[in-house]
């Protein structure tokens, strides 16, 4: 195998693949990417067995062939080369790849292509095309509430596609982020529901284009943007019944300026304990008093004026959980709907937006 290409035409692909390949040292081959050259195209594949990426681009191919090489090393090498240079990749004897550019020469040890795990073959038959920027905005709104823990089914976000809407839901058991957006009418034979791995969502955020193609089979999701296809194993398990925990008619409500409440929470949380990050809200007529204390540091208090006329209420929150929502909501004003000290709180933008965004937060016992 031998091919040449300009640095700028391959570096982005290598960077993406570097994000995909396995970083822990479980199976050495998973740290590699599969490089194949044929015709006038080079194809690169990387996978950690959960998420895979396939990408191709035109190149000057002199000899066809394929081999696997460390995803990290090849990225680091190409990155270190001067911009604008041509880079030549040449497979030599004894499973090595020579990478040359100008006066620079690298010989990288490789592994045979036969050992590379099978990356599922993507298929796009349902003709589903989603607006990418909207999808990415939705990912931003649910991403932070995905956990990495034993409950495997919570390590991703639930994607729901209906004929005229797409929805994403994530939860870590203490809070839930829900977002939904109308899309151009599609013809789906049935509603699609699948749990998408956190890593896949993180990779999807890096893609750039107007739209993204989507399809799935029994065990994999396929996302395609231009020359790049992401293959993501569907997370098995039953996603919790999220609709049942979204409170419908919490009686105690108020609206507040996002900026004011964010700043106050941030200030008061300086004194919350490292582990719990707990702060307290005291809701009284037309104001929230915020409070936190730490036996080793001291106490912090603050106050925000609001339009509150409900009953007096004392409620604790994880300040980070509040800030996570406030940092991702675009509205200037947000609306809180509360019931009591021990029940979930609903927070959302005051005015409904293009992308519906609802956050459900359980209080903290302090």
């Amino acid at each position: 195998m031998k091919f040449s290409i300009k640095k700028k035409d391959i570096i982005d692909e290598l960077q993406l693949l570097h994000g995909i390949v396995e970083k822990r040292n479980t199976m050495p081959i998973l740290a590699n990417i599969l490089v194949s050259a044929s015709g006038s195209e080079v194809e690169l594949k990387g996978t950690d067995l959960e998420v895979g990426l396939k990408t191709y681009f035109p190149a000057k191919v002199e000899e066809e062939g394929s081999i696997t090489i460390s995803g990290r090393k090849v990225f680091e090498i190409v990155k270190s080369l001067p911009d604008g240079e041509m880079v030549t990749f040449k497979e030599s004897k004894d499973l090595t790849m020579e990478i040359t550019s100008g006066a620079s020469e690298f010989k990288v040890l490789c592994l045979p292509k036969e050992d590379y795990p099978q990356v599922p073959e993507p298929k796009f038959e349902k003709n589903i095309v989603l607006p990418l920027d909207k999808f990415q905005d939705m990912i931003d709104r649910v991403y932070y509430a995905i956990t990495q823990e034993q409950r495997y089914y919570l390590s991703g976000a639930l994607l729901i596609l209906k004929d005229n809407s797409m929805e994403l839901v994530s939860t870590d058991g203490h809070r839930l982020a829900y977002t939904s957006s109308a899309i151009e009418k599609m013809k789906l034979s049935s509603e699609i529901r699948a749990i998408v791995a956190k890593k896949t969502l993180s990779e999807l955020r890096k893609f750039e284009d107007d739209s993204i193609e989507f399809d799935l089979d029994e065990s994999n999701l396929f996302f395609k943007v231009k020359n790049r296809t992401l293959i993501s194993r569907i997370i098995e398990g039953k996603f919790p019944n999220y609709d049942a925990v979204i409170p419908k008619d919490n009686p105690n409500t108020f609206t507040v300026s996002k900026e004011e409440i964010t700043d106050a929470v941030r200030r008061v949380s300086l004194f919350s304990t490292e582990r719990s990050k707990g702060i307290k809200f005291y809701l009284e007529k037309n104001k929230i008093k915020l409070f936190s204390s730490n036996p080793e540091i001291g106490e912090a208090r603050d106050k925000v004026d609001i339009d509150y006329t409900g009953e007096d209420l004392e409620i604790g929150f994880n300040s980070q959980y509040l800030l996570d929502f406030l940092a991702t909501v675009s509205a200037e004003t947000v609306r809180f709907e509360l019931k009591d000290t021990n029940s979930s709180v609903l927070i959302k933008p005051e005015v409904e937006e293009d992308i519906e965004y609802v956050y459900v937060l359980m209080p903290m016992k302090l």
């Binding site: 870590d172 058991g173 203490h174 582990r275 719990s276 036996p295 021990n342 302090l366």
Partner: protein, 407 residues
């Protein structure tokens, strides 16, 4: 800076003193707490009479028996010691809110803020000492100084039963002739190094410069430089949340029976959750420890998303961890322990399990029953399987083997 008044109070031969109270016939005799002579383990306390024979805390029981064959050996009961300890701290806290519980049997009091209340610090310290001795029936030693290190060193000179005060200007004189081993930063290894340099007393240490000490002992050297001059600016650690709470026990004989092991584990979990409830704490990490008959020790831990306090739930986690350890071994066990760490008082409520106060209330109700009728009055069936191994008292529950001085 204003001179502080720090008092260090330490119970003399704590476990032994309690045993004498429980059994007055032990009075004046060499008494060793920790286990019977033929048993394994180490002495956790020796009475002053036993110390004359060279027995001290930490030496193996067999060795203690060789040194003092006519000594009285008892296993001890950590529950009773804890109860004493609690009373000890309660008494002390009546004199100042600034108290640090350094271990089960020692405390620091900072009287500085109480200056307007007490005409003389020496007099009030003596009063505290006498009050504790009268109420608890055991003797304590006390030291007074401008900081923690000096107060503690003063106590070591006051033992047993005395009171030593380091007054303003008296620091140098006091420290000069103390042996270097009395400084907490100097362990056996450091002692060897210093003695090679012909340094035996704290006063000798003053000849070493700060850089010299740092090159010898690293950061500890810095500490040592200050300690040896009686400089210590550490504040008292008063409202501290404990880092972890653990309960463990060595068995009288190695155990292989899985059900009996689980019974021990359940009992330890039960014991463990008592201080959690008392301090209203929840644990994010549960860890189970097992020591096999070949002395190999293994531990396994679990990080919980929602912190736990409830005995039943903690036992469930502990059991699972234990079985993971146990099923991979064909050896019998000599020790099992459970530890709760990453303790928090705040806990997030769960979205998918409706909040209920009942488990928490149940815990407090159990505590109330036990307060009135004794720890043994309410035990699970699994715990009662220990009946065949240990003496059981309604008041105190099972008398397990290991007692420990750590909080």
């Amino acid at each position: 800076m204003r001179r502080r008044c720090i008092v260090h109070i330490d119970i003399d031969a704590f476990f032994a003193a309690v045993e004498v109270l429980l059994n007055p016939s032990f009075k004046g005799k060499p008494l060793i707490v920790g286990g019977l002579p033929h048993e394994r383990g180490v002495a956790s306390t020796a009475s002053y009479e036993a110390r004359k024979y060279g027995v001290h805390a930490g030496i193996p029981l067999r060795k203690a028996y060789q040194l003092c064959p006519h000594g009285i050996f008892v296993r001890g009961n950590s529950q009773i010691y804890r109860a004493f300890s609690k009373k000890f701290f309660r008494l002390l806290s009546q004199y100042t809110p600034d108290m640090e519980e350094a271990s089960l049997d020692e405390a620091y009091l900072d009287l500085t803020r109480c200056r307007p209340l007490y005409s003389s610090f020496s007099r009030i310290t003596l009063e505290i000492k006498q009050k504790v001795e009268k109420e608890l029936g055991i003797t304590v030693s006390a030291g007074m100084g401008p900081n923690k290190i000096l107060a503690k060193l003063a106590t070591s000179q006051a033992k047993p039963g005395g009171l030593v005060e380091i007054g303003p200007g008296g620091e140098e004189e006091f420290l000069k002739n103390l042996g270097i081993e009395s400084l907490p930063g100097i362990g056996p290894k450091a002692q060897v190094i210093l003695r090679m340099l012909n340094i035996h007393k704290i006063g000798d240490l003053w000849g070493l410069s700060r850089p010299t000490l740092r090159s010898l002992f690293g950061l500890n050297g810095e500490e040592l430089y200050l300690q040896s001059r009686g400089v210590d600016t550490r504040p008292l650690v008063t409202a501290s949340v404990p880092k972890s709470i653990s309960r463990e026990t060595t068995f009288l004989e190695d155990i292989w029976d899985r059900r009996l092991l689980l019974a021990h584990l359940a009992y330890l979990c039960d014991r463990l959750t008592l201080p959690l409830r008392e301090q209203r704490l929840f644990a994010h990490i549960i860890e189970v420890k097992a020591r096999y008959s070949d002395f190999k020790t293994e531990a396994r831990r679990c990080l919980l998303l929602s912190p736990l306090q409830e005995m039943g739930k903690i036992y469930k986690v502990a059991q699972e961890l234990f079985l993971q350890l146990f099923s991979s071994s064909r050896l019998s066990l000599r020790l099992v322990g459970v530890k709760a760490s990453d303790l928090v008082s705040a806990r997030p409520l769960s979205l998918f399990e409706p909040y209920s106060e009942r488990p928490e209330k149940l815990g407090y109700a159990v505590d109330q029953v036990r307060e009135k009728y004794g720890f043994g009055s309410l035990l699970t069936v699994r715990e009662r399987m220990l009946d065949s191994l240990y003496s059981f008292e309604r008041k105190r529950g099972f008398v397990l083997k290991t007692a420990s001085l750590t909080k």
